[in-house]
């Protein structure tokens, strides 16, 4: 288990009496690109939000580098190592693109402004947004916002990136630009955990696909296996419905 980056052990989460996650168990190794698919309400987003403690898990533990993320890691350090990209971008609307990218570096990593800006430019170029460094989030399109959000997460130089439906709030013609950035990251070796409804992206880019239903991981296999020969009847039903629409 030496190379496993993140281990989720017996994770459960309830909102009141409603149990959203039931005893989730899985491991993420360095360099893996894992897509989590499943219908709405199956607990995909909650799982991601529990992993970086935006929601407090009810039971279970998360091990990061083999150490308990809740008790043995300083929370802010853990957050800077485990980046997150949101469905609704969540860029700081009072700051421009550049400030969005340097704020975390300066506040959390205590990096000097000059160096932080250098790093920000580097990642903004990577997502093709360097020319927009003076723009405010309100002046950007959805796809551009999401790319800046990815750059902001990358500026913290995380070891793993969590994507919570990064393209679900975008116009269809903007989905491509975001997926293309994510594809670049994946081929660059970034460890990623992606909740998505983009089945073709999951099929092409993921190294593993998890199918979630009713708060449990029903299937966990290679995309080639899962998309061509799903084992569980529930997975087959889901894929039939989704793929008939998408492809």
């Amino acid at each position: 288990m030496g190379d496993s980056l993140l281990q989720v052990r017996h994770l459960s989460k309830s909102f009141g009496s409603h149990e959203v996650l039931k005893d989730i168990d899985f491991t993420v190794d360095t360099g893996e690109v894992i897509c989590i698919i499943g219908s709405s309400g199956s607990g995909k987003s909650t799982l991601l939000r529990c992993i970086n403690f935006l929601e407090q898990p009810t039971k279970g533990e998360i091990l990061y580098h083999g150490k308990n993320a809740e008790t043995e890691w300083k929370r802010t350090l853990y957050h800077s190592k485990v980046g997150m990209v949101f469905q609704s971008f969540n860029l700081f609307s009072n700051h421009n693109v550049m400030e969005n990218c340097v704020l975390g570096q300066m506040q959390v990593l205590k990096i000097k402004r000059a160096e932080a800006e250098k790093r920000a430019i580097q990642y903004l170029e990577k997502v093709g947004m360097a020319a927009y460094r003076k723009a405010r989030p309100a002046q950007l399109s959805g796809g551009q916002k999401q790319r800046v959000a990815i750059a902001r997460a990358l500026c913290m130089e995380p070891e793993i990136l969590l994507f919570d439906e990064p393209t679900s709030a975008l116009d269809p013609e903007m989905v491509g630009e975001v997926l293309s950035v994510m594809q670049d990251l994946a081929s660059g070796g970034m460890t990623m955990l992606i909740v998505t409804h983009e089945m073709s992206f999951a099929r092409d880019v993921a190294s593993r696909v998890l199918f979630m239903d009713g708060g449990v991981i029903l299937e966990d296999s290679k995309p080639s296996d899962l998309f061509t020969a799903p084992k569980m009847p529930r997975t087959q039903e889901f894929l039939k419905r989704v793929l008939s629409r998408q492809l």
Binding site: L103, M129, Y132
Partner: protein
């Protein structure tokens, strides 16, 4: 019409005799309203921020107790000072303290007591405005800050408060204008503001209505100028709405992206058919 002529004559008479006292009163009113509003906003900001410190069941008992205590204290402060007239608050502060302490503790400066009363009163209103301003900011902003490792205070200072303060600027302006008018009750403890100038002038001249007209016009002038200035400040803060779009976004719908619509069709610049198609035209 001759009534108006008479009124004008009376006003001129009043102004020649008491003009300096009116102007002095206006100056004092503006200074008191301004200082009271600024200090009141600070009080409101502190209360609003303390009021919104999050705590969960996992925090230790001492922290939870203190945070709850702070909320109760602020709640009592807001309810008491928002729920009683400022004129009585002035009386309580100015006459109440020496009454209870047998003259040992009292305000020696009429300016100080007035500023304290107006600030505390404004603070009670602003505390609620600031709290509203903070909770109106989208939860995603806090989550975005948390997700890159920022602490509660860092996200407050750099992300939430700047947005919340921008949103409550109209409220601050509101409070300033209310203070310009409502400081008129400070004559009760002898503060020399605009309305007390009216009382002095009337006491000597018996021109009650003409003096009231001077007051009306004077207050309206002060509030109108304040309104214009506040709007101007708001516009300045929002900055220019013009923004030159940089048209060098390499990823937006250019060939080679993940799902470029023309990819693999004869319209794709990289395909051989594209060149062929051009030749035909």
């Amino acid at each position: 019409m001759d009534r108006f002529a008479l009124l004008w004559a009376d006003i001129v008479k009043l102004w020649t005799k008491y003009g300096a006292s009116y102007l002095n009163g206006m100056g004092n009113t503006l200074v008191l309203a301004l200082v009271g509003t600024v200090l009141g906003c600070l009080i409101g900001l502190i209360c609003g921020v303390l009021n919104t410190i999050p705590y969960s069941r996992k925090d230790n008992v001492v922290k939870r107790f203190f945070l709850k205590l702070i909320r109760v204290v602020i709640r009592v402060y807001v309810e008491v000072f928002r729920g009683t007239p400022m004129v009585l608050q002035a009386v309580f502060f100015y006459y109440g303290l020496p009454y209870f302490t047998n003259n040992a503790v009292k305000f020696t400066s009429i300016w100080l007591v007035s500023i304290v009363v107006v600030s505390i009163n404004t603070g009670a209103y602003m505390a609620e405005s600031v709290r509203g301003g903070i909770i109106s900011i989208d939860k995603g902003q806090t989550e975005g800050a948390t997700a890159i490792g920022m602490t509660h205070w860092q996200s407050m200072v750099h992300v939430i408060l700047p947005q919340a303060v921008r949103n409550i600027i109209p409220q601050i302006g509101n409070n300033f204008i209310i203070n310009v008018k409502d400081t008129s009750v400070m004559f009760i403890i002898g503060f020399p503001e605009f309305f007390s100038a009216h009382r002095a002038a009337v006491g000597a001249s018996y021109l009650y209505f003409p003096s009231a007209t001077v007051e009306m016009v004077g207050y309206l002038t002060m509030t109108l100028i304040s309104s214009f200035l506040l709007r101007w400040v708001e516009r300045k803060m929002d900055g220019s709405s013009n923004y030159e779009l940089v048209q060098e976004d390499q990823l937006t719908l250019t060939a080679g992206t993940y799902t470029h619509p023309d990819r693999g069709t004869p319209f794709d610049e990289t395909s051989k058919e594209f060149e062929k198609g051009k030749g035909e035209n």
